[in-house]
């Protein structure tokens, strides 16, 4: 799992996850998300390319991160989710609160 944060500007960025988020490696994912969510008015795009699985723990972390970032005036979006991941987002109802159908943001946005 890569967890690479690419800034798009002062208040937005792309978090490239790069691999499945499972109980064994969730700490890095959680820390990275929560670190970003503390920032004000931040728009976070999560690139789910190559992610086939999010454990229910990771789903909960993502949901809480979305709440935090929105409370701070920002937003969280997901893109490039494959079919397996879309199924997880659907059954976990995470798709109700996080837009996952978008495309990669243009650079500099």
């Amino acid at each position: 799992m890569a967890l690479d944060l690419e800034p798009l500007g002062e208040t937005s960025g792309i978090l490239r996850v790069g691999g499945d988020v499972r109980p064994e490696n969730i700490e890095g994912y959680r820390k990275k998300l929560y670190e970003v969510c503390e920032q004000k008015n931040y728009i976070l795009h999560i690139d789910m390319t190559g992610v086939e699985h999010l454990s229910s723990w990771a789903i909960g972390v993502t949901a809480l991160a979305a709440q935090k970032i929105r409370q701070n005036g920002g937003d969280l979006k997901i893109y490039a989710a494959g079919e397996n991941l879309k199924r997880i987002l659907k059954f976990s109802r995470l798709e109700m609160i996080i837009d996952s159908g978008g495309t990669a943001p243009p650079s500099g946005s």
């Binding site: 967890l3 109980p23 820390k31 229910s56 909960g60 809480l64 995470l94």
Partner: protein, 768 residues
């Protein structure tokens, strides 16, 4: 990181830690302990700087004790930091402001801090803390291999700091004198007291290992016997020893070597002993020696005991088997007075003798004459040639056909295999790999094989024993050895022909393979644990896999691993399709032999054991259950995934949707058991049973953890916005969404059981 790279890194870590442990076994000063500790970390993580702060008498005050590398600014001598609030062992400084008092870590580019904890020395010793600042980037991520290394290193250092060193730290009032600290008196590094017997047992293994290392670069026959006699003299405090070796005729013996002070008459060059007692008498004193004249002469020369070395196969206890043969050598021993042996002395000699005779057995004849009298050998000749695989008599007629392929990379090797037959007809099989090659490893394998046999034959073992328990016991033996420096990877399993079951556990070895000739894939049988000899409380997962009549089990050491590519596996499956079952076994053995004989750049010992039930009914895959027992540690989840993969691959009607539902919810149930049942403490066991009946698949996940008062009404519905942002409860919710049935039974302090059922709807097998 590829699996192979991670494995190699893990092996290097273990060797580094072993070296460190060995260097800490003298009487180190605190300075030396922490020097080594910090240098180890710097080398492992390629650090430019590292700093160690130790808690003083006030828990929030830490003193700079040691630092290495270059720092952009001066490190403060004292920092105020509440390390007890830390939630993890390794933390990034930017996540925990408490680790960056006054900005000292940020100014000095110390991106992470590691909390080291140990129990202070003596009775009532306090829990102590230290903070190790690591010069890593601020967003450093630590891999699983890194985490395991840090945990092992932490334990090594904690052990060194308990006892006298810890007491010194407890008494410290002024750390400015840290460079002058010298350990006073003996170091009691182990908290538990050693009995004399245990200490002698440990020294036995240490001595035997010393022999192993002495033979690292090759050995001649003379070296072997010289070392043998000197070892006996040192260990048993003998004044003299004399070695007579077999010659022709069979009852004759010739003096080969003697050491020590000769007393009285000269030793005879030759003796004829036709009436030596049978093999089960390994030693005699001069009073019971069959030749009274010779006995008197040897006694007059100061020898009171003779020990007999038997190289040939033992006589079967029922009287069948080969006729009694003469010992290969007689070892006369003399001490200050009449010798008496303690149980630990006898045990030492038995193990040493097994090691020596195993080497002698491995000596091939110069031609094709087979085993020869030792005196016929040129004593300067080097130990040579490999042990060819021999059919094991213990498996014949037991309903199990087998083949073994064994090729050491040097003349002798660090791999071993063994079979154990049990009263119920089941057979235990062990395949193991000692880290290392050649004589050193070969001698160590002898000791380990003897210990393994002793363990499985204990009355408490059960018949057959639980494989995970066997590994835990063998691990305890290795850990208790004062100088254990050779980790062991092993798979131990029990094949039960009556129940068509293979129950197994493994440690640091590649997963066994299940080759099903009429299937389109070779199944890996997952179960995992760390190498033996690394952690005192290591746990090992145990799994049971049903096996059918034509199935072939392949258990192998990592010398074969590079050759078992996907292409090779496909080729094997193609070749065994349509073959008779015994033909398949021979065919695979031949293919393995070809691989074994092929020299590779990074050559390693190669061992493969093939097993097949010869009498199990050729039925369709049964609806019988599969079970895996996992330690309560998320690091074992990969074993669960492979287990579920293999189980579901057998079922012909699992659609992709069903597969997703079953695997997702099972893993969630297991994670809940680990996190909530056992509070993430890795000493518990989570049992997963999978069974299929009448088109319905059931998964039962059980733990013996703390349990809870389960209220079905408490499961969130994720229907309103506030609930949708919850960070917990999704696992249970998704179980009810994805599965057809969910039954949860739990009571406080009584563990939890989760039963998940799914009606299998798909007609096609799961997609790739």
């Amino acid at each position: 990181m590829t699996r192979l790279s991670a494995d190699r890194l893990a092996r290097q870590d273990i060797l580094s830690l072993r070296e460190m442990s060995a260097r800490l076994r003298g009487d180190p000063t605190l300075q030396e302990v922490f020097d080594l500790f910090l240098l180890m970390l710097m080398g492992r993580f390629q650090l430019r700087r590292i700093a160690l702060y130790i808690q003083g008498s006030e828990p929030t005050r830490l003193w700079l004790f040691h630092a290495k590398g270059q720092f952009p600014s001066a490190l403060p001598d004292v920092i105020e930091s509440d390390v007890n609030s830390s939630i993890q062992q390794v933390m990034l400084v930017k996540d925990m402001p408490v680790l960056n008092p006054g900005g000292m870590a940020g100014r000095n580019n110390l991106g992470a801090a590691w909390v080291l904890k140990w129990q202070g020395g003596g009775q009532g010793g306090q829990a102590r803390c230290a903070l190790v600042y690591l010069g890593v980037p601020p967003d450093m991520t630590f891999s699983n291999v890194d985490s395991v290394f840090l945990e092992l290193l932490s334990r090594t250092i904690s052990r060194a700091l308990e006892g006298n060193l810890g007491r010194i730290l407890d008494r410290l009032r002024d750390l400015e004198r840290r460079g002058d600290l010298i350990l006073q008196g003996g170091a009691g590094r182990r908290k538990q007291r050693l009995t004399r017997e245990k200490l002698l047992d440990s020294r036995n293994l240490q001595t035997l290992q010393d022999i192993a290392f002495r033979f690292k670069s090759g050995v001649s026959l003379e070296d072997i016997f010289n070392t043998y006699l000197l070892t006996l003299m040192g260990r048993l405090r003998l004044k003299r020893t004399a070695l007579y070796v077999s010659t022709l005729p069979a009852s004759a013996y010739q003096l080969l070597l003697w050491k020590g002070k000769e007393a009285g008459e000269e030793l005879p060059d030759r003796m004829d002993m036709p009436d030596l007692p049978p093999r089960d008498s390994l030693w005699l004193d001069m009073k019971t020696f069959p030749d009274p004249v010779l006995a008197g002469r040897m006694a007059a020369s100061g020898y009171s005991v003779v020990w007999m070395l038997w190289r040939s196969a033992p006589v079967d206890a029922r009287g069948a088997g080969p006729p009694r043969v003469s010992p290969d050598a007689l070892v006369f021993m003399g001490g200050a007075a009449d010798l008496t042996f303690q149980p630990s002395d006898v045990k030492f000699m038995e193990i040493l003798n097994v090691q020596i005779t195993n080497i002698l057995t491995l000596l091939d004849s110069m031609g094709d004459a087979g085993p020869r009298p030792i005196a016929e050998w040129d004593k300067n000749i080097s130990v040579l040639i490999r042990d060819r695989a021999q059919a094991e008599d213990s498996l014949s007629g037991g309903g199990i056909a087998h083949r073994v392929v064994y090729r050491p990379s040097h003349k002798v090797g660090g791999d071993f295999y063994d079979f154990h037959r049990f009263a119920d007809g089941s057979v235990g099989v062990a395949v193991a790999d000692v880290v290392g090659h050649g004589i050193a490893a070969a001698i160590w394998t002898s000791a380990m094989r003897e210990h393994l046999r002793e363990i499985v034959n204990r009355p408490a073992a059960g018949s057959p024993p639980e494989p995970a328990w066997v590994l835990e016991e063998l691990n305890r033996v290795l850990i208790q050895n004062l100088k254990n420096e050779i980790p062991l990877s092993i798979c131990y399993g029990v094949v039960d022909p009556a129940r068509n079951l293979f129950t197994y556990a493994s440690a640091g070895i590649d997963f066994p393979l299940l080759i099903r000739p009429n299937s389109d894939k070779i199944f890996e049988l997952p179960a995992g644990g760390l190498f033996l000899g690394c952690l005192p409380d290591a746990r090992f997962s145990q799994e049971s896999a049903p096996i059918q009549r034509d199935d072939i089990l392949l258990i192998y050491t990592d010398g074969f691993q590079p050759a078992f590519t996907a292409r090779w596996r496909r080729q094997i499956l193609q070749e065994v399709q349509g073959q008779g079952s015994l033909d398949s076994l021979d065919l695979i053995a031949q293919q393995l032999q070809i691989l074994a004989d092929r020299r590779m750049a990074d050559d390693d010992d190669k061992t493969a054991v093939l097993l097949r039930l010869s009498s199990a009914p050729a039925s369709a895959p049964s609806d019988g259950g599969h079970r895996i027992d996992l330690p309560s540690d998320v690091r074992h989840l990969p074993a669960l995934r492979l287990f579920m993969d293999n189980v579901l691959a057998e079922a012909v009607s699992v659609s992709p949707d069903d597969y997703f539902a079953i695997t997702f919810t099972t893993e969630d149930a297991v994670v809940n058991a680990i996190q909530h049942g056992y509070q993430s403490v890795p000493t518990g066991t989570v049992t997963i049973d999978v069974s299929r009946r009448e088109g319905r698949l059931s998964v039962a996940v059980r733990d013996a953890g703390c349990g809870f008062e389960f209220d079905p009404a408490s499961i969130p519905k994720f229907a309103v916005e506030d609930e949708l942002y919850r960070d917990s409860g999704r696992g249970l919710y998704m179980m009810h969404q994805l599965m057809d049935g969910v039954e949860i039974t739990s009571r406080p302090a009584s563990g939890t059981s989760v039963l998940l059922t799914k009606r299998l709807r798909g007609d096609s097998a799961r997609g790739a």
